[in-house]
């Protein structure tokens, strides 16, 4: 069973995806990650305005059996979180790249974007 890996996104080795538009990074977890977690029943999202450094814990996503920390792929300030996940955390499973996005942050350092990996390299990892 192969996972979906859209070509127009960037990725991390820890299974986050990043969509960049101007200085805003929209972040979520990949299809591979959501299928490993299985039914997500709870998503604990960060406060708006919180500053995170690349590699910091960004948020936590829980299945019945496990707790998964999601890490910030780039440094920045949280400007938006996906409130839909409050009542419907399973959206992350159903639509990991679209309706199931987690947070948006304003990117602090453009240089960090080059540390993200391309779809082709991510495909090779999973």
């Amino acid at each position: 069973m192969s996972s979906e890996v859209p070509d127009d996104l960037k990725y991390t080795k820890s299974h986050e995806w990043v969509h960049l538009k101007d200085k805003v990074a929209r972040i979520g977890i990949t299809d591979h990650a959501q299928s490993e977690l299985t039914d997500i029943v709870f998503a604990e999202l960060p406060e708006i305005g919180k500053k995170v450094k690349k590699g910091d814990e960004l948020c936590v996503v829980e299945s019945v059996k496990s707790v998964s920390e999601i890490y910030a792929p780039v440094s920045g300030t949280i400007i938006k979180v996906n409130e839909k996940l409050d009542d419907a955390p399973e959206t992350i499973n159903e639509s990991p790249y679209e309706d199931g996005w987690l947070v948006e942050l304003e990117v602090e350092d453009d240089a960090e974007i080059s540390t993200l990996i391309e779809a082709s390299e991510y495909k090779g990892l999973i």
């Binding site: 299985t38 029943v41 019945v64 059996k65």
Partner: protein, 371 residues
Amino acid sequence: MVKQSPLHPIHEKLQAKFTEFSGFEMPLQFSSIKDEHLQVRKTVGLFDVSHMSNVWITGKDAEALLTLTTVEDASRIAENKSQYTAILRDDGTIIDDTIFMHLDDRYMIIPNAGMDQVVTDWLNKQAKNHSLDARAENVSSQYVILAVQGPKSREVLQKLTDVDLTTVGFFGCQKITLGGHEVIISHTGYTGELGFELQITPAKHAMDIFEQILKIGKKYDIKPIGLGARDTLRLEKCFLLAGNEFEGGRTPLEAVMSWAINWDHEFIGKDALLKQKEDGTYQRLTCLLCDEKGIPRHGNEVLKDGSSVGVVSSGTLSPCLNKGVAMAYLNHDAREVGSTVDILIRGKPVASTIVKPPFVKKDWLATQEQH
């Protein structure tokens, strides 16, 4: 070294996601933990629980050995009856919780996964120390245990045997022919639903019976169920899980198993328990229902008015209630039913109410709307 169930190839075909539990690679889930959980509460599910252990106790002093080493007086358990009990150390702490079944002139006990040799050795040591003509034999590798649980479980199994299963009373056990093979059936389970467990040897008979049950149960939409749902099902009913509720340091009084203790006989650990009972200030297992969003987990601290009053032993999201539920050991003076405590989940306090067990009552299904 991780062992696999003899039914592993069947689970692979059913596309199970596997997990490691007590040295065994077992199915965690086949579809989704929530779906499998609700399936068992609403109709019927089939579990492979072959990671659990099987030990025969034989000899003319078999009954005496069980009486000595468990909190039950085994003379009270008639033939074709079983009993849930605990095996204790001298200091009163639980080595293992288990069911023992009285069959003919012998007993079969079902220790937890990974505890087979520990329990076998302990029983044989006590038999020797007390000059009892009794022997414990570890036959775990020869047996496969299946569980069929849910409101339709008896109907499903009835199709595979001529024995009237309504005659196998609650906690009854007997040897019967099921699906063309000899099995030990018991009216027992770990889900709180109507259900039966089957001890089967050899493994190839168990594989055949597993497939037969799935086939015959199709009309009830039977599904295979993994360990993930097994855990959420037992937790909703506040049943203990070895390794969570006791990890070598808890007594049956602390685990609120006192209903299973028969005080009218001598048993290993009795003196320690009597002392603890008299003292009365021990922590006790308590049921907590989260009032706010959050999923409690083993090890979370419990606070009352800012001070620590205990620790979570088991926690999860209840699929039936859609709320966090936890069993926690709380100080004896901080566990009034109806009062509120905070469970510290990743540093954040989540308000929870102390409730009487079980979390999900017997009438849960009746209270659900029909779709």
